[in-house]
């Protein structure tokens, strides 16, 4: 467990000491700010606070998924690219500790970044009321969605030799898992139910956005994260010996 924390802390330091972390955080906050101003607040002044909040979580989920792909692309691919993986590989560290440490660092960074945007829902207080439960559910949803996307990104990063390739692979997987939902809407029972249940966003995120927590959705996102991390560990184990 010490090794996981060591790796996570070093990796988090790398996010904070290099430009990439700040660039991604700034871009996400900027885009979220514009979307919040243009759509969530909108031109009508008679909107309900819950509608504004729901809109905020709606587009935040999109930027979270995109940010996750970019945050996770360097995790393992960069170490392979620059040869620093040897330091970890020649140390008494297990593959799962490497993968978990890397994933944890990106999740912590994503959480910090999301927290930095929390002034937006707080702005609702200026002219309306805020349901704490709704905000908590929305943020839990963002964190769970982010965790799943980061885990998929970690897998992409474990598979690819370069960061660019990692981003392309992970982006492809995330987009693929989101649009499985479309398949669900054009197929018939029971196939459509399976597609809808598998989709990364379609059926599982909107409840959070509306302030509702279903155990089903929580389990789904945790399962996706677990599966992607598990495969990443296996990929790394297979790679280590070649």
């Amino acid at each position: 467990m010490t090794a996981v924390w060591l790796i996570a802390r070093r990796e988090l330091g790398a996010y904070l000491r290099t430009m990439s972390g700040y660039v991604i955080a700034a871009a996400v906050l900027f885009v979220n700010g514009i979307l919040f101003n243009a759509f969530a607040l909108g031109s009508q002044h008679d909107r309900l606070s819950t509608e504004v909040l729901s809109q905020f979580f709606y587009f935040s989920s999109g930027t979270t998924m995109i940010a996750s792909v970019f945050l996770s692309m360097r995790l393992l691919a960069e170490e392979r690219q620059t040869g620093t993986m040897v330091l970890l590989a020649s140390s008494p560290v297990r593959e799962r500790e490497i993968v978990l440490g890397k994933f944890a660092s990106s999740l912590i960074f994503l959480a910090l970044m999301t927290l930095a945007g929390s002034f937006m829902p707080l702005l609702i207080l200026v002219n309306g009321k805020l349901s704490v439960g709704h905000v908590a559910a929305g943020y839990l949803g963002l964190l769970l969605l982010g965790s799943a996307a980061l885990a998929i990104g970690t897998l992409g990063s474990a598979l690819a030799r370069s960061q660019v390739l990692a981003a392309i692979i992970s982006g492809g997987m995330v987009v693929g898992m989101v649009i499985v939902w479309l398949l669900g809407s054009v197929t018939e029972r029971p196939l459509n139910e399976i597609f809808l249940a598998l989709a990364l966003w379609g059926r599982h995120f909107p409840p959070f956005q509306a302030g509702i927590i279903h155990l089903r959705d929580v389990v789904y996102y945790l399962a996706v994260s677990y599966a992607a991390l598990f495969i990443s560990i296996r990929v790394l184990e297979a790679r280590r010996w070649r």
Binding site: A3, R10, G13, G83, V86, L87, S90, P92, V93, R242
Partner: protein
């Protein structure tokens, strides 16, 4: 410490190393000598538990690499051909990270880092960011990360690669300082480097071990004694013939002559410098210089690896 038996490694159809066997005792400093692509790095990576052997057994400290990689990694320090450095970290933070990864307890880490920095002359660089260091310093940080947890076995893959002559001498002194504390395995194609640092040499060529032993053992195994160089004042006549008659001398000839001095090159089966000195003095010569030629190792190496010795890889000797 290390037992390698019939080790082979194939990458697809291509054999990187073929059935090599050797053993290294505790505390030995062993040089792994070979041209680029001979299989040095592959062998070291297997010993460092970074690669699985295709066949054969490799034991480090009695543990089999394929079965106990985790245990072995606790006992080794590994410097790959490119040092695995994180450019955004400071030297101190990086070495602390390396020490903690190798299970040095948190309360000892600072002392171990300071010790490693002292041995590698990096104490002044503790707060410097690695990305801003010169190549020589980075190489030293690479060595420091390998020794920071005081491993029983130290594996250094070409520690002198890309260094300038002054840095090579510093690196040689550094490696000398590591003697005694660790069993050390150094790979190199720097011939002089390795003969001065190591107790024993393993010569590898095209994936096969073509010779092993100390420099003298390798030389005598090949029926090749040393070469002695003698420089005398002036241009005395008939000396080469008299040198050739000394017992143990296989060949003696005048290598170069200038107005002031003459250099004789004497090929011998043993180190007979005292006899040569007495003979030259008795013959009335002013002896200016008498030494074993440093090119001996190179000629051994070239013979073992079937390279014509005139065709030296440029830049590989200082």
């Amino acid at each position: 410490m290390i037992e390698v038996h019939k080790l082979s490694k194939y990458f697809g159809e291509r054999a990187a190393i073929r059935e090599i066997s050797f053993s290294i005792a505790q505390g030995e400093v062993v040089g792994f000598l070979g041209l680029n692509g001979a299989g040095k790095t592959t062998t070291l990576r297997i010993l460092g538990c970074l690669l699985l052997p295709t066949s054969g057994t490799v034991r480090v400290d009695g543990l089999e690499v394929a079965e106990n990689p985790y245990e072995i990694r606790r006992r080794i320090g590994f410097l790959p051909d490119t040092p695995p450095l994180y450019p955004e970290m400071t030297v101190g933070a990086y070495l602390t990270f390396a020490a903690r990864l190798r299970q040095v307890p948190g309360r000892d880490a600072a002392a171990r880092v300071a010790e490693a920095e002292e041995k590698t002359a990096l104490s002044d660089m503790h707060r410097e960011v690695i990305g801003e260091l010169s190549h020589g310093y980075r190489q030293r940080v690479g060595v420091a990360q390998a020794i920071v947890h005081k491993p029983a076995l130290l594996i250094l893959d070409e520690p002198s690669a890309g260094l300038d002559p002054a840095q090579i001498i510093e690196m040689r002194n550094l490696l000398h300082g590591l003697r005694g504390e660790h069993t050390v395995l150094i790979s190199s194609h720097f011939l002089t480097e390795i003969s001065q640092t190591c107790d024993r040499l393993l010569v590898i060529q095209a994936g096969e071990l073509v010779g092993q032993g100390s420099e003298d053992e390798l030389a005598s195994a090949m029926g090749q004694g040393g070469i002695i160089e003698a420089e005398v004042r002036g241009q005395p006549a008939g000396i080469a013939e008299r040198l050739a008659q000394l017992s143990g001398v296989t060949r003696a000839h005048r290598r170069s002559t200038s107005e002031a001095a003459t250099v004789f090159e004497i090929t011998t089966s043993a180190d007979i410098r005292p006899e040569v000195a007495r003979m030259l003095v008795a013959a009335g010569c002013d002896l200016l210089r008498l030494e074993k030629s440093t090119s001996r190792l190179e000629s051994i190496f070239m013979t073992l690896t079937h390279q014509p010795s005139g065709d030296r890889p440029s830049g590989e000797r200082q």
